[in-house]
């Protein structure tokens, strides 16, 4: 078999196995919801994530000051919790300062690290970055991110992410 033939067989094999193997990614069209992680991790992480959920509930009810305080308290309990940074990024994108949102997104990306994809966080990271850039009047930079978010998760179809949708 020629070298190109072997390459074709290997690539085809990889494709088939990726379809059969358990998906590392969230189901197609779905993205991370914080409450799905409320019982994961060590005690600090669980408590912290529950506080993020509480903050998102408060945000959904329009209590933004309480929401931000909950996210910040979540970081007091577990400063490495990427979900808290993601929630702060969402808050700043839609309710606060989009420049600050970009900083929180950097931090969220850094703390998710390699787990961002497996946790289904990529659509939110793209979507929030796109929305924040758009709010800052940078449509050329924003559009690829928003397009990627729309493509990968239904929740981003409207270019928005409500607190309830992230919760």
């Amino acid at each position: 078999m020629s070298r190109n033939g072997v390459a074709f067989v290997l690539i085809a094999g990889l494709f088939v196995s990726s379809c059969v193997a358990p998906a590392r990614l969230s189901p197609a069209g779905e993205a991370l919801r914080v409450s799905a992680f409320a019982d994961r991790g060590d005690a600090q992480r669980r408590a912290s994530t529950r506080m993020v959920v509480g903050g998102l509930e408060a945000s959904d009810l329009g209590h933004q000051i309480e929401a931000v305080a909950s996210f910040e308290r979540a970081l007091q309990v577990d400063p490495s919790n990427p979900l808290a940074y993601l929630a702060l990024a969402r808050h700043e994108t839609f309710e606060g300062d989009p420049r600050r949102a970009l900083a929180f997104l950097d931090k969220a990306e850094a703390t998710f690290g390699r787990s961002a994809e497996g946790m289904g966080a990529l659509p939110h990271l793209h979507g929030l970055r796109g929305a924040a850039l758009s709010a800052l009047g940078r449509p050329a930079e924003s559009e690829p991110h928003l397009a990627e978010a729309r493509r990968s998760a239904r929740v981003w179809a409207d270019g928005q992410l409500d607190a309830a949708e992230l919760r």
């Binding site: 070298r3 060590d42 005690a43 408590a47 529950r50 000051i65 305080a69 910040e72 490495s80 900083a103």
Partner: protein, 772 residues
Amino acid sequence: MLGLSLFVTSLVFGFLTARHFIEMDAIVRERFEGRLFRVPSKVLSAPTILYPGLDWKQIDLRGALRRLGYREAASAQGLALGRYHWSDRRVTVHRRPFEHPSRAEPARVIAMRMAGPIIEEMRDAQTGREIGAVFLEPELVGSYYGPTHEQRELARLDSVPAHLVEAVIAVEDQRFMTHPGIDWRRIGGALIANLKAGGITQGGSTLTQQLAKNFFLTPDRKLWRKVQEATMAVIMEARYDKELILEAYLNEIYLGQRGGTAIHGVGEGARLYFGKNVRDLALHESALIAALIQSPNWLSPHRQPDRAQTRRDLVLKLMREQGRISEGAYQRAVAQRLRVATVTPEPREARYFLDALQRQLPDFYDGGTLATEGLQIYSTLDLRMQRLATRTLVEELERLEKAHESLAAKGSEVLQGCIIALRPQTGEVLALAGGRSYSRSQYDRCSQARRPAGSVFKPFVYLTAIQNGTLTLGDWLDDSPLEVPVPGGKWTPRNFDRKFHGRVPARTALEKSYNVAAARLGQQVGIDRVAKMAHSLGIESTLPRVPSLAIGAADLAPIELARAYATIANGGIRPRIRTFEDVVDPAGGTVERQPITFDRVIDGGSAYLVTSMLEGVVNQGTAASLRRQGLAGPIAGKTGTSNDYKDAWFVGFTPELVVVVWVGFDTPRNLGLASSRVALPVWARFMKEVTGGRIRGRFLRPPEVVELEIHPESGALALAGCPERRSELYLRGTEPAATCPEWSSRPRNPEGGGRRGWLERLFDDILGPEAP
């Protein structure tokens, strides 16, 4: 003639009386129409957060409850507000309601199931629902006092329970609501009583007169002072309504001491004696507060409980006799045992922190404003960590003085030090001990002192070199003699051990803190670039553009180093240092807020590589003794000793905490010891006590960092057949081009800097190189 004399006398008397009234009126109006009270601003700690899985011993839960004035109860059944029940397996707390800038926390009965030192489960005892996390009230860190060391919590009349008002009126001035400021019947009664006793045993002052005395006059009992008091009382009653006078009185009265602080007003009194908001007082508690007005120290319920109870019962009796409470209410209240909260003196451990916080507030909040405006400042301080920092610093400096003659005091010059702890992700200052005794020296060595940084500066040089592509962790550095021309001569750096080590791996050069290698690297990357890097990390002091900057010839404050290292610990994202979250005015409005703020200043990959090098310092370098002291887990850090051993530093961090320790003399003096024997043990003890020896988390490796097997000597990529190998970290794009054994059959990936993709290598390994 007599008539004329009388007329003139009357005229003069009338004139003097009118002038007296006008003067008194001006004084009264100035006070009532200006600021009635000067209320020192309070600083509160970050709240303690309880959650399942938490080690309650580690956070000293029992101590926290006691400091917050919670009292232990014999049973969890019918647990009253502000009490807790503690048994081996269960702890129940009836948490008080409290205000917080973000939200009001309601009263709640929290039932905790314990498994050893761990909170296994938490439930709301009233609803049975599981609780994910719950806050305790923030603890008082300290207050900003003016010249009078008084504390009060202002209470509006509508928030004071009616039974407290009734109790005060019943015992102090039962005709208050009807008299015009002076109660002639009471004065007559007092006069008779005093005549009978042959001296002054009873006063005839109304509440209004007492208020006039406290507000405007001295406490002596001279006749002229009594005339002034009466005049002012009449003026107050004429000008202002009873409610305003009563509210002023309730906020003015002296009610006892909290250590050296005088407690005034029923708001602060309720906190002192019952640990609760005045609006939550029960009848028998209100009666006690009213009872104490007469003589708070003589009747102190802490020192003289029998006296206090007798007087309390008298108040209740008066209330019943005057028809202010029913017989049933009287019987129930008088049956209550006297129970008061533990007095927690204001903590003294955080005085340096309070000063640092004040310096971080906008200029508007000067000493005068803070001493009078009654602000509540919600700080970032972890009071438990602060106590540990203060204790560790004091005890370790004493130990060092005893153990090493060179560190002993000379005259008034004693060994000093500082510990500052930050949360790198959020920039919160968790503890700050700026010296061993605030009462002896208020100079804060954490934020006001600038001392030569020495080797703790070196990581900034390595970081600059990594980020601009000059250095990879597989490289070797030159630690052979170096001469750098400088104005007026040459600079020839030397190593701590007075030796040169020739060619050394980059990691070893930092782990062993070789000066010459770092100095040469500094020359290679450029001192300007190094200085820029340091500034971008968070160093604010001016940095001299001299070759020796590379080995720390710069005077820096510990807090700056804490921030710069926090940026590295935080993956290249620089946090804003925060000492407070919110400043709230007496009406409950947030007037200042310091949100979490950060900026990415260097790439995460470079920060991670330097972190990895600094882990090496702790694992096998100059800080290896840390591991021997029982600290396991992810720790990175750097020792630093300045020229002539005048300053000893250790800057270390874990994934969740950055701690800087400096030790030295205020007037620089040779310590005679390296930092690993001076600052490092202080850091180790502090960290062990803070974490219990269990360091959580890990340094997250960013995706742009890859781990490869290399040949140690050459730094070449180790392939099968390479005689020696070790793993090393590289930024993507900087992986070694050379291989071991050398791959020579074809030029590899000439456009990609010698890097080959994994798929290409896989194909090559399976199929062998493609024939030309």
